[in-house]
């Protein structure tokens, strides 16, 4: 088991990061918002950590906090601007935001040169991106010290989402998803809760981006192109959007399968596509479909009932 973990540690790292990203889009989807800005916020988080750690000696944990704070600070005004839009229009607006972030990262140094005296200053380094120095991770309690922060981060998010799921807040989000108008007639401040969900999702994505920086190490704009946003959406679509277990399942399956199917060489992406297609046709509510789990539960609890009778 330990050997298995150490042999596949980079795959496990990426699974955990993708789970965090899947959860970040889940919270907006659970509110009925199709927001595709997560790749953009991930870029903000990753660049924040990368710039802080290359330009100063501030410890990583402070960089992570700064990344999440910046994510919240940007998500608030942007959320106020775009959350008046619905459905596909919201998707287009948030997609635009992701592209703006990418293009700023690409041309960031030109902007810096406008305001700075030092015309040779390189911070974003355009298409080549920022390369963090490699450090051999030390093993702590069986896991490298680069994996622990991500694992803790995912556990904290899952704990928060699990607590929220059956709380007043969680039920309000579900009510907005199911019928926005009906929810507002029940006295729910729809605008307020939508903004809250958007900010929460963006903060989670920024944190995930920040945590991915020491692992990917090369932070360039190409990491955060449109297809990254689509990948994140796929985790939630495959897993299901009604329960927080959904994106965890989706991200785990979609990240580990290509590794397991390495023997299929360049054909292995077909399997991912096939799985998403089949799940959309036969399991429209995702892998975490409450009906499947209801069935599973009945099978498991069946002998118990017999014992009672």
């Amino acid at each position: 088991m330990l050997e298995f973990v150490s042999n596949n540690i980079s795959t496990i790292n990426f699974i955990l990061i993708n789970i965090a990203l899947g959860l970040s889009i889940y919270i907006t989807l659970a509110t009925g918002l199709l927001s595709l800005s997560n790749a953009g916020f991930m870029a903000i988080g990753a660049y924040t950590v990368a710039i802080i750690s290359t330009q100063s000696n501030i410890p990583f944990i402070v960089g992570l906090m700064a990344a999440i704070a910046l994510g919240v600070a940007l998500a608030l005004p942007i959320g106020m601007l775009v959350l008046g839009l619905r459905d596909i229009y919201l998707a287009i607006a948030t997609l635009g935001f992701g592209e703006i972030v990418r293009i700023i990262a690409l041309n960031g140094d030109k902007v810096v040169h406008l305001f700075s005296q030092n015309k040779e200053l390189i911070i974003f380094n355009g298409a080549e991106g920022i390369t963090l120095t490699y450090r051999t991770p030390t093993i702590m309690l069986g896991l490298p010290d680069t994996t622990w922060p991500i694992l803790i981060y995912v556990i904290v998010i899952v704990y928060i989402l699990a607590t929220l799921h059956n709380s007043r807040f969680g039920r309000i989000l579900a009510s907005i998803r199911q019928d926005e108008t009906a929810a507002s007639t029940l006295g729910v401040n729809v605008v307020h809760y939508k903004l809250l969900a958007f900010v929460l999702g963006s903060a989670i994505a920024a944190g995930a981006g920040a945590l991915s920086a020491p692992i990917v190490r090369v932070i360039d704009p190409h990491n955060y192109v449109f297809s990254r946003g689509v990948d994140i959406l796929a985790y939630a679509v495959l897993g299901g959007m009604t329960h927080w277990v959904g994106p965890i399942l989706g991200a785990t399956v979609l990240t580990s399968l290509p590794e397991a199917l390495r023997f299929l060489k360049d054909q292995r992406d077909i399997v991912n596509g096939l799985i998403i297609m089949l799940s959309i046709i036969y399991l429209p509510a995702g892998l975490a479909d409450p009906r499947i789990w209801g069935l599973f539960k009945r099978l498991v609890s069946f002998p118990k009932r017999e014992r009672v009778s």
Binding site: F4, S6, N7, N8, I9, S10, T11, F14, I15, L106, N107, G126, A127, E128, G129, T131, Y134, T136, A162, H165, N166, I215, V216, R217, V218, D220, P221, H222, N223, V245, I248, L249, T252, V253, S256, L257, P258, E259, A260, R262, F263, K265, D266, R268, D269, A288, P290, W293, G294, F296, K297, V300, S301
Partner: protein, 385 residues
């Protein structure tokens, strides 16, 4: 209560999926201690994703070279076992592929990865594990600087372009040029940096520097501005698709044929002449390899490649093919499949006969071999004279 009942089977299933999914492929590669049995060598190519065009020819060429080496008995009783992995043109893919090759397959050396930024993300893993890496297509700066186990046989743009500028300047005698480059791609941006430096060193005036993005299709604004400045030549650092668009639109806008397009490594694709048609005539580019090269074994390589895959090899194929031969040569000289011994033998390679010409590594593990300048004539690359 209901929620909890619903939760536990889910978490259980998650763990099950997670652990069964990654565990199915476990390989048994015995690492040979002397020159016998199978010597596992890893190769990481971008076979899917954005760089798949380059990765597929690299895969073909490396497999051809391994086949030839194993048939020829170059390594005596030993055979090379090439383990090819796809990195999906992503850094994450390259990192997991390196991890798998080193920890699970216990490879003695790694070829690749295709892209420079993937190399920057993944190579330190091999450096830390003391497994030599031979890059065959990374042309950006900062590759061999990552450590003493990192080599490359692909001439960086910083070595190729000064030669291109020098040769073309001597023959065409141009004094002022305009530059057009893609600024969102490491490859084309690196080419631009190299050209800029070479032009400054040669004292050539740069009239204008214009940029575009990958997948752009309209370059008329940039080209109109350049046309108005009347440059003697136009330097283009672009991948084949964009370069073709720039050339055909440039000629349509009336940039005279006496003003040549001079390009970087991105021009080195047979696709350029196909896409741009007559507009590509006379385009000049610096390269590491030319199909009509008169180098040892080049003709046989082109023929064997053509026979096996039904297409002509390009520069990337030639460099990957050479890479396998360099590794085999190092293994043979070292007389061992110990990664550190291979590294030491590779660092000592001087004047080796390859399809790229006489090949040496310098003290920084950078490649040394003569670059060529080529020109498109009748839709084909020929040596620029």
């Amino acid at each position: 209560m209901k929620a909890r009942l619903f939760l536990f089977p889910m978490i259980f299933m998650l763990l099950l999926v997670c652990f069964t999914a990654i565990d199915v492929s476990s390989a048994t590669a015995e690492s040979a201690s002397s020159l016998s049995g199978e010597i596992p060598i890893g190769a990481v190519w971008s076979m899917t994703g954005a760089a798949a065009v380059y990765g597929s020819t690299q895969k073909n060429a490396s497999e051809l070279a391994v086949e030839q080496i194993n048939q020829s008995g170059m390594l005596g009783a030993a055979k090379i076992k090439l383990i090819t992995e796809d990195d999906r043109s992503t850094k994450e893919g390259a990192i997991t592929a390196f991890d798998k090759l080193i920890k699970e397959y216990k490879v003695v050396a790694i070829l690749g990865p295709t892209l420079s930024n993937s190399a920057k993300a993944a190579d330190p893993i091999a450096q830390a594990a003391k497994v030599p890496v031979l890059a065959v297509s990374n042309t950006a700066a900062g590759i061999v600087e990552m450590g003493d186990f990192i080599f490359r046989d692909s001439l960086p743009e910083m070595l190729v372009q000064p030669n291109t500028i020098k040769e073309t300047k001597n023959k065409l005698g141009y004094k002022k040029v305009a530059i057009l480059y893609g600024n969102d791609d490491v490859f084309t941006k690196g080419g631009y940096d190299a050209f800029k430096k070479a032009l400054n060193d040669q004292g050539i005036q740069i009239l204008a520097t214009e940029t575009f993005n990958k997948n752009d299709s309209d370059f008329s604004a940039q080209l109109t501005k350049i046309k108005g400045l009347k440059p003697d030549a136009i330097i283009v650092s672009a991948l084949a698709e964009e370069a073709a668009g720039i050339m055909s639109q440039g000629r349509q806008l009336g940039i005279p044929e006496s003003v040549p397009f001079i390009g970087g490594n991105g021009f080195n694709s047979p696709k350029l002449a196909q896409l741009a048609g007559p507009a590509a005539e006379g385009a000049i580019t610096g390269a590491a390899w030319l199909i009509s090269n008169d180098t040892p074994g080049n003709k046989a390589f082109v023929e064997a490649y053509n026979k096996k895959y039904g297409a002509n090899p390009d520069q990337f194929a030639a460099q990957a093919y050479t890479g396998v031969y360099i590794l085999a040569n190092a293994i043979k000289t070292a007389g061992s499949s110990n990664p550190t011994a291979i590294r030491d033998a590779m660092a000592k390679i001087r004047d080796m006969d390859t399809v790229l010409g006489k090949f040496s590594f310098d003290a920084r593990r950078e490649p040394v071999h003569p670059p060529v300048v080529q020109i498109i004539k009748n839709g084909k690359f020929v040596l620029y004279k």
